[in-house]
């Protein structure tokens, strides 16, 4: 080792100790390297530990992404049930009607039921009378019945999507017939007739 560097006095002993440390590899290491070179072995093949952190990170990233997608899909497909009571939805004059709305992720409607809250529980229970019940498809009952009335109720969070931006359209014949129920979403600051029916 060269003495090209002036070492401060307090460090000279330590410098001398370190200079005295010498290691010698075993004599057979060179032939071993030459043999591996001759066999065309990859230099990457001699790692003392084969744990591949890059692969682990990639797997972890895929898992995290998978969980994220699953959560997102789950959130989107999660059924949300909203039960609003009580209003005069059927035109009977009493505010004793409720509407049960089941949506997928607060978006697509799966079910709408209008019921009369007979037991005053302010929710759909076994003792109530269901006036109208539909699935995800918009259905309309007999519209030839005379005296049909359309009422609009706005705005609440009927679909569970968050903001109170949903309107409820009910067609029926007072005092207790309901032919059609639809949800629509009110566009921000646009209380226009262009209601997207849900």
């Amino acid at each position: 080792m060269t003495q090209d560097m002036e070492i401060p006095d307090p460090l000279k002993d330590l410098d001398a100790s370190l200079r005295g440390v010498r290691f010698q590899p075993r004599a057979s290491l060179l032939p071993e390297v030459q043999g591996r070179l001759r066999r065309g072995e990859s230099s990457e093949g001699v790692a003392p530990l084969r744990f591949d952190w890059l692969a682990l990170r990639a797997i972890a990233a895929v898992l995290v992404a998978g969980v994220g997608v699953a959560l997102w899909v789950g959130q989107r497909n999660r059924g949300i049930t909203m039960d609003h009571c009580c209003y005069d939805l059927d035109g009977g004059g009493s505010t004793d009607d409720g509407v049960l709305v089941v949506t997928r992720g607060g978006q697509a409607v799966r079910r709408i039921a209008v019921y009369e809250d007979r037991d005053s529980s302010r929710s759909l229970t076994a003792g109530d009378v269901v006036r109208f019940d539909r699935g995800s498809e918009l259905t309309v009952g007999d519209t030839t019945v005379p005296g049909m009335v359309t009422t609009r109720h706005c705005c609440l969070d009927y679909d569970g999507g968050g903001p109170d931006d949903d309107g409820l359209l009910v067609m029926g014949v007072p005092p207790d017939q309901v032919m059609m129920v639809a949800l629509y979403e009110v566009r921000p600051r646009q209380p226009s007739p262009h209601y997207p029916l849900r």
Partner: protein, 182 residues
């Protein structure tokens, strides 16, 4: 070295005789420096051997990329060794040095087994202390005392000025001394 470097592999994928010759030449000239550099960083003899072998396999395969105008073969080989060590560290996450009893490769002309044992304990304590230092300090000490690089070579390998190398090495030694005295 001013002569042109030989091609490292024949068309069949096997190393050319020139490459084998170069391997032997470089290993004989710098093998101990590379091995000792690793021994300042890793506790196990077999790991240091593996890393040394890996370093020389890499440098021989990439020998045609070595530019003598940009530095000495030793500096270039030690640069490769640093990368090999870095890769190994990332794989193993090993930090603790446990050298006692693992210094069979220590060069020491001891007149008796007892003296050799004492010397191994002394070096073991020294390397234990080195192992407690930060990455930069260990790098400086490994290059200086393991590989025996001079200041200019260290500056080239580390990409620092010679003055900076001196200052940093002194600071590293000062920290090492504090560890030894604690």
């Amino acid at each position: 070295m001013t002569r042109p470097l030989p091609g490292t592999e024949a068309s069949s994928g096997t190393p050319s005789p020139a490459a084998e010759s170069l391997c032997q030449e470089w290993y004989e000239a710098h093998g101990v420096a590379v091995y000792s550099y690793f021994r300042f960083h890793v506790p196990q003899v077999d790991v240091a051997e593996d890393l040394t072998a890996e370093t020389f396999l890499k440098v021989i395969r990439a020998a045609d990329r070595f530019d003598p105008a940009r530095g000495s073969p030793r500096g270039w080989i030690l640069t490769v060794a640093r990368h090999v060590l870095g890769d190994w560290r990332r794989r193993t996450r090993l930090r603790q040095y446990v050298p006692i009893g693992a210094l069979s490769d220590l060069v020491f002309e001891a007149p008796s087994p007892e003296e050799r044992l004492l010397r191994e304990e002394e070096v073991g304590r020294l390397l234990d202390a080195v192992a407690t230092l930060g990455e930069r300090d260990r790098e400086l000490i490994g290059l200086r005392y393991g590989s025996g690089l001079d200041t200019a070579e260290m500056a080239s390998v580390l990409g620092l000025s010679e003055g900076s190398v001196r200052t940093r090495l002194w600071r590293a030694l000062k920290r090492l001394r504090e560890v030894m005295m604690a």
